[in-house]
């Protein structure tokens, strides 16, 4: 990547982070959703430690997944509406790099807070300390995959009426591998079989998504702009 391309990508990243700081309520909505969903299950099920420990990994992962989904609708929509996306597509710097910067900003604003609050939420499910560490590790590897794959769906449904529902139908099946390996890693640690295999597979998902997703997103956005 040339210096100009990097400077333009950093410019996009800075702008998106600045926008998130100016509109904190929008930026924090997914993490609040995550906290609320993850807290409702223990309240609904009641004091049954064994059951809670069993469902904890799955519930927390599904919560993180749905929270990410919530934020996808706005990922490209405002840039599309106000013409910024056109300007990005017309930038002399590679569009793929700018798209990657946008997804990075999305992960920093949406994914990273989910990772940060997950240990606190895991306490409600009575997960032991080392399992909580595995949960956080699985989310560190998994939430970028959710952002990258989700951005493909958001780009494909850009400008489509009822895009919100469509993006859910499109993206949720693609989230299955991340969910299986992520929640599987935590389950495996609970069962004492070691989480390395699951985390390795999740890491592989991340590498593949990080390499291919920006190209797919850029192509989908160009089609939306035509």
């Amino acid at each position: 990547m040339s210096g100009g391309a990097l400077a333009a990508a950093i410019g996009v990243l800075r702008r998106d982070l600045l926008l998130a700081m100016r509109r904190k309520s929008d930026a924090l909505a997914p993490v609040f959703f995550f906290v609320v969903v993850a807290s409702l299950f223990p309240l609904g099920i009641g004091p049954e430690p064994d059951l809670l420990r069993r469902i904890g990994p799955g519930v927390l992962w599904v919560g993180a997944l749905l929270a990410t989904m919530l934020s996808l609708a706005r990922l490209f929509a405002s840039d599309y509406d106000d013409g910024t996306l056109e300007q990005m597509a017309l930038s002399p710097e590679p569009f793929v790099g700018l798209v990657a910067a946008k997804v990075t900003a999305h992960w920093l604003v949406t994914g990273l807070p989910l990772v940060v609050v997950s240990p606190v939420l895991a306490l409600q499910y009575g997960l032991p300390a080392d399992t909580i560490a595995v949960l956080a590790a699985s989310l560190v590897l998994g939430t970028p995959v959710l952002s990258l794959v989700g951005a493909i769906g958001a780009a494909l449904t850009l400008g489509v009426r009822g895009g919100g529902l469509l993006v859910a139908l499109l993206v949720l099946p693609l989230y299955v591998p991340a969910l299986v390996f992520g929640a599987g890693a935590v389950d495996a640690n609970l069962a004492g079989t070691g989480a390395e295999a699951h985390l390795s597979l999740l890491g592989a998902c991340l590498v593949i998504a990080a390499f291919f997703a920006p190209w797919a997103i850029a192509a989908a956005l160009r089609i939306a702009l035509e």
Binding site: A8, Q87, L90, S91
Partner: protein
Amino acid sequence: MLAASGLECVRGERTLFSGLSFAVAPGAGLLVQGANGAGKTSLLRIAVGLAPPAQGHVTWDGRPIRTLGEAYRREVLYCGHPNALKDDLTAVENVRAAAALAGRSITTAAARGALAQVGVAAAAELPVRSLSQGQKRRAALARLALGGARLWVLDEPLAALDASGVEWLAAAIDAHLAAGGMALVTSHQSLATRGALATLKLGA
């Protein structure tokens, strides 16, 4: 030099224009006119490479813009109908972000200078949300004052501008053309540039 030959644009079932050819040489401007829905914006989007024409092609210095890609985009400054401004950022932050996107990082002082040229110096540090429509348009046009692009493609730049804004834009286009630049402009109003721009009528 920008040249187009045999352009055809189809929107849904309707053919907006076909067999359209034009050329813009260095130092020349072209004013595209036509009724609402005649395809002015579509033509501009084809000219900058945002949309492909159904037929025909656009060339820049004799080479198709499709193959030039980033080399062509470096020469073009496109101001579309939407202002491409973020409501939550200040005018200065918007100009800096737009410049970074165009591959020319600038300082806050340079951004302020550009905004002063378009007459919104007083509102430079305000969130764009609180600006009037005309001020927003001026802030969007501040990118012209930064320089660097040889071809300006402006879609209805006069919309929401007051008399002094229109005057400033005409002078800016004059200076740009005098320096060997090119301009492709759509407008419903007349644009009082020193040397009259060639006119292309769509749907006539």
